[in-house]
């Protein structure tokens, strides 16, 4: 009886630990070789044949096609520079400059990777659409209500993810955090 109970206990622990770790690895992004710059994280290796088993599992589970490294690289932000979860009811400013790339796009998704409905049907900005300041830097305001300038609507959703994709860029597997990759700052300005 004790043996049976003991075995059962060990198996329950194994299932909880094993499946729990898998769940967290796939939802938090546990692939190796993450490139973290400020609020932004990219996994350049995920877009190559060297994608590790964690990256492969994440690709299979979400059903997305990763951006191939020869095409570009995708950075995601789920929180601002201070570590606060991005909240669609708040006003968040994305300011600064980006690393050199022929084009970039900034897109807002819900946590499932779907576009978020909004009144003006704007889901993204491309580097060509943005209104810039004299020095070439820009500010994009991610907010539920219209703001002057570059307004990316949140549709009022509680949580969202920003994807900043650079196309035809030198940013890749060998890139280290530093001056050659100046990523824009992400700051929550005001919350209701």
């Amino acid at each position: 009886m004790r043996l049976l109970l003991g075995t059962l206990f060990a198996l329950v622990v194994a299932a909880a630990v094993g499946l729990g770790a898998t769940y967290f690895a796939l939802t938090r992004g546990a692939a190796f070789g993450a490139l973290r710059i400020g609020a932004w994280t990219a996994w350049p290796k995920t877009g190559t044949v060297d994608a590790d088993p964690y990256a492969q599992a994440e690709i299979a589970r979400t059903g997305r096609l990763p951006v191939a490294l020869g095409d570009g690289v995708m950075f995601v932000a789920r929180a601002d520079d201070g570590g606060k979860r991005l909240d669609g009811r708040c006003e968040v400013a994305i300011t600064g400059v980006t690393p050199a790339a022929r084009f970039w796009t900034l897109t807002l998704y819900n946590p499932a990777g779907e576009l978020v409905p909004n009144s003006i049907n704007r889901y993204d900005f491309t580097s060509q659409e943005i209104v810039r300041r004299g020095d070439g830097s820009f500010e994009i305001v991610v907010a539920p209500r219209a703001t002057p300038g570059n307004w990316l609507p949140t549709g009022g959703v509680e949580r969202y993810t920003l994807a900043l994709r650079f196309y035809d860029t030198a940013v890749g597997v060998a890139t280290k955090e530093g001056r050659e990759v100046p990523m824009p700052a992400v700051k929550t300005r005001s919350c209701p």
């Binding site: 060990a10 770790a21 690895a25 044949v49 059903g63 096609l65 022929r102 084009f103 796009t105």
Partner: protein
């Protein structure tokens, strides 16, 4: 007490094995991965334009709405493939994926350096069987080796602003992807 601690430790170790096993098995058993999602809508060895992603409907998650996209789901078991993609004004790229959605090659309009991205896709075996003086090599065409017999080619054209989307869609629509022997017959 020690007995239970040992059981806990044993369980945790076994849990580590369960974790690694599930991570490795997952891509083999996934039914909602990109290749499986595209199989019903993309006929084999032809270009299928993907509908623009909207909040209500998207073929795959995390699609970039600034791009017009098309997919060629290929099968090399009958022979090599030939791919031609006209270049749009802004940015055009072609990415190659295995049937497990792993990107193994990508090329964009700048590296292609011509009016169209033209290349031949084949397996390593088909490449080595190709005679040296084949007119394909003579024509200086780019040859891409696929690590798998089946896979996906994703064709993307950027619309720098929404008004240019029809232009990007035209470029993507003009893409051709067919078996090399079929392409020769129709020439």
């Amino acid at each position: 007490m020690i007995r239970w601690l040992l059981l806990l430790l044993g369980g945790a170790l076994l849990g580590g094995i369960v974790h690694l096993a599930t991570i490795i098995i997952l891509p083999r058993t996934a039914t909602q991965d990109a290749y499986s999602r595209l199989t019903p809508i993309a006929p084999i060895n032809s270009v299928t334009e993907l509908p623009e992603p909207t909040p209500e409907k998207a073929v795959m998650p995390l699609m970039d709405p600034a791009f017009a996209s098309a997919i060629c789901r290929y099968d090399l078991s009958q022979g090599p493939m030939k791919l031609t993609v006209p270049i749009s004004l802004a940015y055009t790229s072609v990415s190659f994926y295995t049937d497990r959605d792993i990107a193994y090659y990508a090329i964009n309009d700048r590296s292609a350096g011509r009016r169209a991205i033209e290349l031949d896709l084949m397996t390593a075996d088909q490449h080595s069987e190709m005679p040296e003086d084949e007119d394909i090599t003579a024509a200086d065409r780019l040859i891409v080796e696929s690590p798998t017999l089946t896979g996906l080619i994703a064709i993307h054209a950027l619309a720098p602003n929404p008004g240019l989307m029809p232009m990007a869609q035209r470029a993507v629509n003009g893409a051709r992807c067919q078996r090399t022997d079929v392409a020769k017959d129709s020439d």
